[in-house]
Subunit: 309 residues, 2 copies
């Protein structure tokens, strides 16, 4: 279930992704008043994966305590088995993978953390034909839950996907809930969003258009929430809860996230993979929220799976 | 390569482990001036693993910012495949596993973090015969390296193992270096110590005696280092370096540590498994120590594998 892809299409995806990274970091820098540092890197010849990327990061901004947004484009001689389950004709084929991935950790505990990723894998079969498939999505992780924020985020996701069929949002929303689940905590990572992988069912042009729709919707999904929450007053209690809950983000990414775990174990670029880590995190034993508190509401009303629209 | 073990021997190991937990937490509480909270737990009937334990934890002590020491004793109907590689006769046999595991995170950056674990697995073959094997060790993770601390720690480990053959320390020291390695950072976790697993080659009595020697040596290996360092003055720079380096501890435990990773994915008791997490941790992008600094010496002189004795 992959799609024939001429190489100018691969170039088009790369161009889109680089532009998306610029647009998003530009808007975030404008909102924050601090700039991103851009770090262009290239894998040494002789490493198992070849490739290059641009890591952009803002640390200790006014609104964002740590905001990382990475573009990478890697090439390998043999598609890993995990990627060829549904594509036996491409087992062991030379491949390219490219994507933009971001995690923004705000300073104010009332502003949720957000993650977005769009990626494409393309491989050349023995016949010489090139095929591609897409993946991506975005999800929201509040520390203090607000219904209107979750509804807004999901509504933007739904509207972005609607032109590609009204089945897409419900499928990708459920997929997101299933993926961003911390089994050892029996907890969702946050209020979800959308997630898709191995996607090529609309053909190259429309699948790529759908990926663009997701990437393009990100700022609209997230910025209004940041604007609403960023000036809310908070104290030590809210800060402590945020640091504690950030521990869940670390647990998910290091234990369960396939990209992170696979990347770290297989020789990916560590500092770029760990852009997703929060700037400051705490762990404490059996922390329990007070009954009836805003913190408790996160567990009882926001983390359980819900239809937000 | 397992050892016939009558059930009174299993009881003896359990008794030793519970006593060890008491002795260690007692000494640490006395040194710190704060007490451990003891939390006895039991798995609900119907969970895949049955068992119980006592989790002891001190948080926000004077010397220790987070110090966890857990005893657990679990029983399962079927030994997992990972444990029967070397024991085909015990594949799928009912088993018990018990151990004491501790990680102490000090407040002062000049005091190293320490980990110690002693454990026994015992299984009943179809013939009705019970067999056991031991595992464990301890390792030291300084933020600021001191040769005398590393030498002291390794010397106590070596001396404790010497009565059981002069091959034990060199073998277990190398095993420790191999195990506590962060592949994605190309870094050791710290200055090492000793690590052993699947151990039964001395027969039950002597293997158990060796495990006791390791457990009994812990306070002697660690406390003199704490006493030497705990009153050293430090500032924001040292504190920040400690928080940053604690990130490596999190990365190792969540990505590579077999016990942690397996426990979290297979339904272990999360809060007890994550006793090892530091109280406060930071991540930042490509932090580089200043040339010629004490921080740089950690990377150049202490983390590379060395023979400390």
């Amino acid at each position: 279930m992959s799609i024939p892809t001429p190489s100018q299409d691969v170039t088009a995806v790369r161009g889109y992704l680089l532009g998306l990274q610029q647009r998003i970091t530009g808007a975030i820098a404008e909102l924050d008043g601090h700039t991103f540092v851009a770090d262009a890197w290239r894998k040494d010849p002789g490493e198992p994966l070849q490739g290059e990327g641009v890591t952009m990061i803002m640390e200790q901004g006014a609104v964002f305590e740590r905001a990382g947004c990475g573009f990478s484009h890697v090439r390998g001689p043999k598609l890993p088995p995990s990627a060829t389950q549904h594509r036996p004709e491409l087992a062991g084929a030379p491949f390219e993978a490219m994507g933009v991935s971001l995690v923004f950790h705000p300073r104010n505990p009332y502003v949720p953390t957000v993650h977005m990723n769009v990626r494409m894998i393309t491989a050349r079969a023995a016949s010489g034909e090139q095929s591609s498939w897409f993946g991506g999505g975005m999800d929201l992780t509040p520390y203090y839950g607000y219904e209107e924020d979750a509804v807004h985020f999901h509504t933007v996701c739904r509207d972005a996907l609607l032109p590609f069929g009204d089945d897409k949002y419900p499928r990708f929303k459920t997929w997101c809930d299933q993926y961003f689940f911390l089994k050892h905590r029996n907890e969702q990572r946050g209020v979800g969003g959308v997630f898709f992988d191995d996607f090529s069912e609309l053909g190259f042009e429309q699948s790529f258009a759908m990926q663009r729709a997701v990437g393009d919707a990100f700022l609209q999904a997230y910025l209004p929430i940041v604007e609403r929450r960023k000036a809310m007053g908070y104290g030590e209690r809210e800060r402590n809860f945020q640091l504690y809950r950030r521990g869940r983000y670390v647990e998910f990414n290091l234990v369960f996230d396939r990209g992170t775990h696979f990347g770290l174990q297989s020789g990916g670029r560590t500092e770029s993979i760990l852009l997703s880590m929060p700037p400051l995190v705490s762990w404490s034993y059996q922390q329990q929220p007070e009954q009836g508190s805003h913190e408790e509401a996160l567990y009882t009303r926001f983390l359980p799976r819900r239809d937000w629209i």
